[in-house]
């Protein structure tokens, strides 16, 4: 009797496991198939546009990639995005680290009010301020200019202090105190003690700062309105799809562009995955 019950429980477990495997396989397929389609479509040789009713190309070719780099503005956009992301990454990381350290470790009268103000500022829809930013940029001749875009991306990066501050908060205060007793200044403590310990969060900040400009559409399209030479990849590729005369022809080129854009980011991401996961899980539960 006892034994039978045990056995049936075991059978139940097995069924559960089989079910779980089935679901996981389905999920993996659902999640990966679109990306396979993207890659396969990018090798399609014949120009049948979006409305083809088959997936696998009749002719495999690198034509789309060749077209991408010779006939379109894509190389320019790619360079623009790379430049903007690289500069933004450096500046934003520095600003975020400085702000988080100040708000986490230093105690001054305006600390709490400052954090509250930033919380409130974050609640305004970002685009609301865009018109004003546009005219500010126009006055200093930085519209349709990559430096204007860099300025916009970095200027408000202080508001992203939250996750990084959460990390600094977990570093024991006794480290600071010990260093203070030894006569180190606040600055020395920050540079020599805290920063070396903050490697995971620095990498997380770099990663998110680098990826953001690649996918940003709203601000970039507004600032660069009407100057295709200054587009980033997201705005440029969307402009192909929005243009009814191009959309069909450019569909496979779009796929090729998507592959080219995804490769470096995916590689970077998989390489630094661990830090990214630590960052989001750490920052999201601390409150």
């Amino acid at each position: 009797m006892e034994k039978k019950k045990y056995k049936s429980k075991k059978a139940g477990e097995t069924i559960a496991l089989v079910l779980i495997y089935a679901v996981l396989i389905v999920i993996s397929l659902v999640w990966l198939i679109p990306f396979f389609m993207l890659v396969i479509l990018s090798f399609r040789g014949e120009a049948v546009g979006v409305s083809a009713d088959y997936l696998f190309p009749k002719q495999w070719s690198f034509g789309n990639y060749v077209k991408l780099f010779t006939e379109t503005k894509f190389p320019v956009w790619y360079g623009n995005t790379m430049l903007v992301s690289s500069v933004v990454t450096v500046l934003q990381t520095v600003i975020v680290l400085m702000t988080s350290y100040a708000l986490s470790r230093l105690r001054f009268k305006m600390r709490k009010p400052l954090m509250n103000v930033m919380l409130i500022l974050g609640m305004f829809p970002g685009f609301l301020s865009m018109t004003a930013v546009y005219f500010v940029l126009k006055e200093i001749n930085l519209t349709q200019n990559l430096f204007g875009l860099i300025l916009v991306f970095t200027a408000s990066s202080a508001m992203q202090y939250y996750i990084c501050k959460g990390f600094f908060d977990t570093i024991p205060k006794s480290l600071d105190e010990a260093a203070r007793i030894d006569g180190a200044s606040r600055h020395t403590i920050f540079v020599k003690i805290i920063l070396p310990l903050a490697k995971p969060i620095i990498i997380y900040t770099i990663l998110t700062a680098f990826i953001a400009p690649w996918g940003e559409y709203m601000f970039t399209s507004f600032i660069m309105l009407g100057d295709p030479d200054k587009f980033t990849v997201a705005v440029g590729m969307k402009s192909w799809l929005d243009n009814p005369t191009l959309a069909g022809d450019y569909f496979t080129v779009f796929c090729a562009a998507a592959v080219v854009v995804s490769i470096p980011i995916t590689a970077l991401f998989i390489w630094l995955q661990r830090y990214y996961v630590e960052g989001i899980t750490g920052g999201s539960v601390k409150g």
Partner: protein
Amino acid sequence: MVDLEYLKKSPFEKFWFNFVNFFKGLPSGIASFFKAIPKKLYKLWLAFAGIFLTVGRAAKDGDWKTRASFGIMGFGLLARKQYLRGAVYLLFEVLFILYMSFFGWKYLVKMGSLGEIACVEEWDDALGSFTYKFYDNSLLILLYSLLTLFIAAAFVYVWYQNVKGSLISQEFTEAHAALPTVKDDLRSYANENYHKSLLSVPMLGLVVFTVLPIFFMVFIAFTNYDKAHMPPQELFSWVGVDNFVTLLGGGVSANSKIFAYTFGEVLLWTIVWAFFATFTNYILGMIVAIMINKKGVKFKKLWRTVLVITIAVPQFVSLMFMSQLLADQGLINNLLLKWGLIDKAVPFLTDGTFARVTIIIVNVWIGIPYSMLICTGILMNIPEDLYESARIDGAGPVRAYMKITLPYMLHVTTPYLITQFIGNLNNFNVIFLLTGGNPSTLDMQFAGKTDLLITWLYKLTVSESQYGIASVIGIFTFIIVAVLSLVLYNRSKSVKNEEEFM
């Protein structure tokens, strides 16, 4: 409920008790938030009073050096050999006076009217054509007068600091204490004043590119800045709360009615979307995480990596690709037609209701990997013996999930859920890159069936130049988000502090 009764409950019951109370307490939470305002104002008044007291003391007790710094900033400090700080104050004053007299003042005086003449057409004999002479530009007047107000406020603050500094150095001298030297001052910026060195640049960026623009747009909400009033050819002017009335349906014109209707529709969909987008992702992501984490499931790392790879592909790529696949003439429809599964194309993105469902499903596809990652980390922290005892008590997996996993997760991830919800209220990319807010409809003013407030705002600004109305929408969005999050944050904090889970 009596405390003792509360303490007798099991942790899960306690959580549910708190959870239910949380929603019951929402109205009172909102009320108490507004009740707290007078107290805050009183505190603010005290702070101001402190400022006046200091200035008063400086006027009464100050010697001639201190009093001179009322007019010549930094004088008191310079006279007491604190050269660096004194010189900085003096320089600031000179710059401020120069700024005001050559630039700021002429804009500030026009702030009330936003300009008199925009542009004059003149016949130019030499050229043989009309030339345009531009005078007042309402936009620049508003922008620069705001900037001037900001700078003036900064000046008042620095002036106060200067008076206070003089007074302190006077008191130091009277007490025969050593005044900090230039070297000490500089050194303090790596120590007790280190926050100033760290924060000055980030805050300057924030003020110029976030705070100033937000103020500007709030002011724009009270003007008639739209296509018919475009500087530099035309002026725009103050119209009071007309835009707010229009959007809330108080206006008389047909235009106003349709704007109000659109606002209602878009707002409703925004909230519905944010709710579903947040919770579908969260619950499904958690279930996926539980499945992967289950004891006995092999290749955990593989399953996780498959999902993480999809995060790595830039979101805009996946979204635009999906919008192409799901189009009426897109690959998915064509394949389904070829295989005879459907008779005519499914309007994934072109029928209002269909598009809304499609968007939520695509969002699940995009979002599950993230929520899976977050849940995985937390799930591993749930003590195994809880499940053990649940099993002994005869609870099945569903019951264990409802009574252990879900309450625990909700407890730990409330802040994450709130940020997600707010992020989804303003989720521009998913909507704009998938449907662009379409399908459009004639019932609504410049908005489609899937437009969120933020994408409607984008369209009104970029393609319709309806800046006034767009600003009002932005302000409403802010109010909704602010009230929701203030209340949620306050409540969740109190729930958390009352007693830690377990």
